[in-house]
Symmetry: C3
Subunit: 346 residues, 3 copies
């Protein structure tokens, strides 16, 4: 298969301080310095949005973003659109949803992406299959050699592959609330085997380089963090701790990153029943966390935060920062769009 | 249920001359003075659109509207988008239709609305369930306490609940064509039991306060205007007249507001057959109306205006103002958006 | 039927040098001079896009385009949106796809189009039924007599009817690469009986008026170019040549316009099997074409260009211009939008 060949051979350009014109498909492109640049720009842009600074709309005026969502994703989709608009840029997308467009009449991804590439300056793509973002970047490189106006790809997540902008907004939120990445216990909870969000976040923390920060992985034994991810983290000098019991780390965690345990992945319902209660965040449980801890969640949330009444109580707790985290998604994406399209200091 | 609790306890803020930052979910928020302000702004904006006044795009420049349509509605959807664009604002929406997005993977309305609230300045929401707009407003209030950039909700209709902007554009159209609300016979025809459009319009006329204006309700006995609406109207001093025979009032009506009788609501087809012919507007019927009457319809229309050939004849009649009514929808929504977002004199 | 009456009696206005306010529904509206004006504007706009000329956004600022796609079409849809945006105009569309909107609850096309006409300055419509664009234009004319802000229709293709903007972009691409329309052999390959793209292109070449240019039609006997199209072309003085064997003309063709043979149209699979191999463009086949030939394709492509690996080889050939052709689609549509909305020299 062509996609497998591409996944094995295509290396996206590392940022190395320069974002302009680079596809964003994996957190592996980011080093410490790149994250600093991005987070600095994010804070600056957030301030300017809140001040209703009209100069913002100069940053991407005249540029066009194509939204190619081959599967739905409310937050990624809406926040990228809002980000581009707030920078003065424009957004195009298939009027009937791209999943109903010619791609489903048999056109391959390579051609659909290049169609959007002919009309747009940047493509934000979400796709259900791992590696799709690498394939899209590979074919855009071919197109960019042919047409005058090169087009950049930003991945909005590809299947169980990566979701780099989610990891970037998660990192930014930790930095925004804790003002540091050192000297923290960051606890990731839930299905750590299949959750691309937690993989990318863990890798990004390792890539940033931290001192005296510990990653705690809380998961049922069958859903532990994959070994290759653990290895990357340990190699970077970050200490890790694994447990299937949240109580081991709850009262020492500075950051609690909650995710869903997907019941549907369990072959044996009894296995799920045996563990599920330890992986539901409730108001009672949050009482046992540190007074200055932050509770994060990539959303959407379901049963892993109890009922809607439980949500209502949790949401009132100042430690629950998942709405701010969601809002930060727009600001981080604004910074990324401005950087890859214009490269300007923002 | 949380929604029922909210419907019983949540009171949306009355306008009282100040629109800025207020959710728009029911006509009960509007008093005489508020309608005057809104209609004045509507006329001013309509004039400026027709003059291609470029200064219009300053009114909502840099502001973002999220379109959340959980069910389709061509006119409400397109006219709100066009309204925001013509004011210089931007529009975001789920690329694949919100009904396919995470809300349908199990996310509750409270969270989906708050996601949009993190990215947009105003949300226009259409929902098939009564009370959904109150619930959305309630949760946005919670979010607005947490984030710096408060978000306003405007209801685009929620099930058999209210459709406040339809009532506002209907009122404006009457005022626009008749130059007054006093001394009129306003006749509402069709399914007055289930039609939210006619409920809201009747309530709004009562709230405005009129002199010597009569509301005539023409409906089959089984589809009469609900008693609680009649009571509100009578309490306000507006005279009402009920009949199942259009001929009783056709030649004395100044405003004829036509709506559909939904065949599918009849348990017994014979009941429908017995009445249907008296509730179809045709060119022959319109001949019997006053020379200066206006014929309104919220659209879409089907059999209640006969065949497409009948439509073609009716459409040529200068008394048929439903296209102007439809166009006014955009202008009223422009006024509302400018008012809730900026509060400025427009 | 009303649509048939309209198709027989409605004559769209010829351009005759003036585009402003005219519906674009058929190539029959264009004469030599009109194409010259349009292609001149296209080149100018392309240059300005590539220079990131910010003055472009003045051309359609404050104007609104409604996208009504009753069937999906990635390229037509995205390129029209991008075209309008790059001219500074705005785009509205049904949030859930127009095919799910009230038109599918029984509203007729005449009313849906007029709803969009109340809010937008131009409507781009794609429809699966032949004649739909004529019907839409006919009813917009009626609406335009009623409201102050007239709305123009541009057809994005209607069933097996016409797809005029595809023919215009095809023509432009030939002119752009060959710098002339005279002294060429233009070869159209594939299903010439059912392909509206090749019909419109052939008619447009005839309307332009060319000297010493030959049209070669390569198709299986059962899928030959319809006689009425051949007659139009011959009447115009263009020489035609018909064959079912590409080899007869491949090495003398200056333009090779490839299209798909739709296997599903064959009643007898053996008939398809007997011819299919002569209608697949491959790298080996392209080797036998002239060194300065151009290979065009309206896209999307499937088996008629072999496998994805074949695509990859063909795409590298400088004679394969279908990506440039696709990109030109946006520029031609920009020129058309600017011309019908503003009429200004661009």
């Amino acid at each position: 298969m062509i996609r497998e060949m591409i996944l094995q051979t295509y290396t996206p350009a590392p940022i190395e301080g320069t974002f302009v014109g680079k596809h964003i498909v994996t957190v592996d492109q980011f080093a410490h310095k790149d994250l600093e640049i991005l987070f600095h720009a994010t804070m600056s842009l957030r301030k300017r949005v809140r001040e209703h600074d009209r100069g913002l709309t100069e940053l991407c005026a005249g540029r066009v973003m194509a939204s190619l969502f081959f599967e739905a994703s409310t937050r990624t989709d809406l926040s990228f659109q809002a980000a581009m608009r707030r920078l003065g840029g424009d957004v195009i997308g298939a009027s009937n949803g791209v999943q109903f467009s010619s791609v489903y009449k048999g056109e391959n991804l390579a051609d659909t992406v290049r169609a959007a590439g002919c009309y747009a300056d940047v493509i934000v793509m979400r796709h259900p299959q791992q590696g799709a973002s690498f394939e899209a970047a590979y074919y855009l490189d071919k197109l960019n050699k042919r047409i005058d106006n090169p087009t950049v790809l930003i991945s909005g997540g590809d299947g169980i592959g990566e979701h780099p902008t989610q990891a970037l907004l998660d990192m930014f939120t930790i930095f925004d609330r804790k003002k540091k990445f050192d000297d923290l216990t960051i606890t990731l909870v839930g299905d750590l085997r299949n959750g691309r969000t937690v993989h990318s976040l863990a890798k990004l923390i390792a890539r940033y380089g931290v001192t005296n920060t510990r990653l705690a992985f809380v998961a049922p034994d069958s859903l532990r963090m994959p070994e290759n991810i653990c290895e990357i983290i340990n190699t970077s000098g970050v200490e890790t701790y694994e447990t299937d019991n949240l109580m081991d780390v709850l009262d020492s965690s500075d950051v609690i990153y909650w995710t869903r345990i997907q019941e549907e992945r369990f072959e044996n319902p009894a296995d799920y029943d045996a563990i599920k209660d330890r992986f539901i965040m409730t108001p009672e449980l949050l009482k046992q966390a540190k007074a200055d801890a932050i509770l994060m969640h990539p959303l959407p949330r379901k049963h892993e935060m109890g009922t809607q009444s439980d949500h209502d109580v949790l949401d009132e707790d100042p430690r629950a920062v998942y709405f701010e985290q969601m809002e930060n998604g727009m600001f981080v994406r604004m910074a990324l769009l401005a950087k890859v399209l214009r490269g300007v200091y923002v």
